[in-house]
Symmetry: C2
Subunit: 419 residues, 2 copies
């Protein structure tokens, strides 16, 4: 057995043992741990910044680009944000042990469901060290154990945060192994982590599309993931034009580098002439490059012709593809062909079309008269999210504490036997 | 591309296209189809029996054992049962499109969840042709398309049933490709079916442990499964002794060859002398072979010593292993070490121990004072079940229509944009 294999298998064994203890842990103990981790992160600020400085210097020396270095950086605000996030998770209701739908059956037994943790989560992410605190907090509150594998460029930062996590777990009398940060930068560790069904119950990768595709292809356990977000907004010809323009502008320009930003705008031909010139002006003023279909290019002289590839591209940048469609049918057809099943919105005042869009669009979030930017665990009231799932199996949409649990059946009888 | 690969890939493409139509199908159309399939099965009884006779003769010639031949056989009663099952599924509420948990958020958007089909189900099973009708019915009602791969020994029977299914789909104006029965007996078809994530969303294998283990190991899509059922009943020393004896006897002897039958009985040492002699007498009279721990063998002279292997064995036969344990802690410990996460029951009048057992036993069904034989979709009120899941991902316990669906988020706004 290779060293990495043996190391990962020991990490897995310890996680499995810790998961058992975590599944039975009292709500109070978990909340004590979460608040103690938050306290430790604040108290250890100096050493977190010092560890991060090491990563930042190594990153600069290795030639990481500015965007990566920005994500890697810890500062006062981000450290305060980690602590605040953990306290918010502590304040959320404990999902574990929640019993629902208890009802009596004709046999006399009473049947319902009890919420249970998934077991051991393997979480794989890049650069941003604050994910270490978020992921640890969500795993802990949902009664799971977690094995965290951050980017090698953030190793010192992640270890410093892990130190705070362990201090908090210890204070609450919970096993330190409930959250383990992988200490090797050997890439083979990821290969091991995703192929140990005996120790790891689910993998949650966060990062670029190619990382997630590779993990999904090679994993021997379920993966909660979204690959990318090619989100659409459709402006129907019965839209309130003011709402249409506001939503289409916000969905693209509120933030560019996020998965719930709009990448393709669909406009009903009935309102294209009324809407596109004004909207295009707003986009261009904001510095958004426009790529359009033939009709769009005719109406908007600044738009370049879109290629076939554009309709499937997540720009994550100030670029927008625009297509004029005949009606809601053509819009739904375009979306279901090109969407990444992340988030799509229709702007309309038409009752029937709003219902059809909601029902027929096969995406994890479908919206009427709202910006796609609302597709987010906090905005949906989940309190926090570990990511977004564009799959249908287990969980779909923003994944909060509930998505990290399952439900078992509980049966309360008074001596019933099968006849 | 091999012939089988090409054939399966065409089946997959057709299933994917049909799944889109099925996901939008009206409740009424699906119910019309289900009732029409039931009618066709009754009307075509003669040709079903004729097709089945071919399979039975070929099976006998191939030397299939009596148990297999029994499962393969169709008769008047079983045909009536298939039709009745389909009509029951038609009468169940349609899960698709169900909207729940709509609530307003501080931003003004209203957020909730809508139930959606999973897409394409790949269902792999052995011998029993009635599974063809059950699985088609559950897939159809839940808005999914299904690719069915039955045992090669049941090919003619399954094709005759598929003929009825297609007649029903056609009558309702739904695509015949919504339910496809694999027409080749080439085993490579299964290998293809479980490795086409582009066409198949989930695999549901029903059959022996080795079939399911192989499918789980090789599948490239999620699998809903249970491997086996090593179910336990624990008789606590604060049990009502009459209930204890009735439940322990029923859980073992009501039916032997089922996954929710008890395979290991745990008895608290405080009541072992009161309970075991009487219970053993009942088992022995019924022809159940007893294998016990040292204490059990001392109290029950007819019991043979159990080996280590016995504690992990699903007998599916009139054999029972019995172990005397110190208390509920030792019982929970034994169960979590040896159980298959299927179904476990405690018999006790003690409030605290009942709560601990419910919380700490990590099985898909956990019961207090009821026979493990109740672990069943019908008994739980699901209306019908496609199988039982002992995993935690997606679904746990008996899997009905809800387990064949997912939930997407729906957002209703009135022009909201992110600030």
């Amino acid at each position: 057995m290779s060293d990495v294999k043996q190391y990962m298998s020991e990490v897995g064994k310890r996680a499995r043992a810790a998961a058992r203890a975590m599944s039975r842990a009292d709500t109070a103990a978990k909340d004590v741990a979460l608040n103690a981790i938050a306290d430790a992160i604040e108290a250890q600020k100096a050493s977190l910044l010092e560890a991060n400085e090491k990563d930042m210097q190594a990153g600069a020396a290795d030639g990481l680009d500015d965007a990566l270095l920005d994500r890697l950086e810890l500062n006062d605000e981000r450290i305060a944000g980690m602590a605040e996030g953990l306290r918010q998770i502590a304040a959320l209701p404990d999902p574990v042990g929640e019993i629902s739908d208890m009802s009596y059956r004709p046999s006399g037994i009473q049947v319902g469901k009890m919420r249970v943790p998934l077991g051991v989560l393997g979480i794989i992410y890049e650069s941003r060290p604050n994910v270490t605190a978020d992921a640890a907090g969500l795993a802990l509150k949902s009664g799971n154990a977690a094995i965290l594998r951050g980017g090698s460029e953030a190793l010192h930062s992640n270890q410093a945060i892990a130190h705070c996590v362990h201090a908090g777990l210890e204070k609450a009398g919970l096993p330190a192994d409930a959250v383990q940060v992988i200490e090797t930068i050997d890439r083979a560790a990821v290969g091991q982590l995703i192929t140990m069904p005996e120790y790891v119950d689910v993998i949650i990768p966060r990062g670029g599309k190619s990382l997630i595709e590779r993990i999904s292809a090679e994993a021997r356990v379920p993966v909660i993931k979204h690959l990318h977000g090619v989100c659409h907004v459709y402006l129907d010809d019965e839209a309130d034009l003011d709402k249409a323009i506001q939503i289409a502008f916000n969905a693209k320009t509120h933030r560019y580098g996020v998965c719930n930003a709009m990448e393709t705008l669909l406009v009903a031909e009935g309102i294209a002439e009324q809407v596109l010139p004004e909207l295009s002006g707003m986009y261009l003023e904001k510095g958004v490059e426009l790529r359009g279909c033939e009709t769009t290019c005719r109406l908007v002289s600044a738009a370049k012709p879109a290629t076939d590839e554009d309709w499937d591209t997540e720009y994550l940048a100030p670029i927008l593809s625009i297509r004029v469609v005949k009606d809601v049918d053509e819009a739904i057809d375009h979306v279901n062909r090109h969407s990444s099943n992340h988030t799509e919105a229709i702007v309309t005042e038409n009752y029937t079309r709003s219902r059809r869009f909601l029902r027929e669009i096969d995406s994890s979030s479908v919206m009427v008269n709202a910006s796609t930017r609302f597709a987010d665990g906090f905005e949906y009231g989940l309190g926090a999210e570990i990511g977004i799932s564009t799959d249908k199996f287990h969980v779909r949409g923003p994944v909060g504490l509930e998505g990290l649990t399952s439900q078992k059946y509980v049966v309360l009888g008074s001596g019933q036997i099968r006849q």
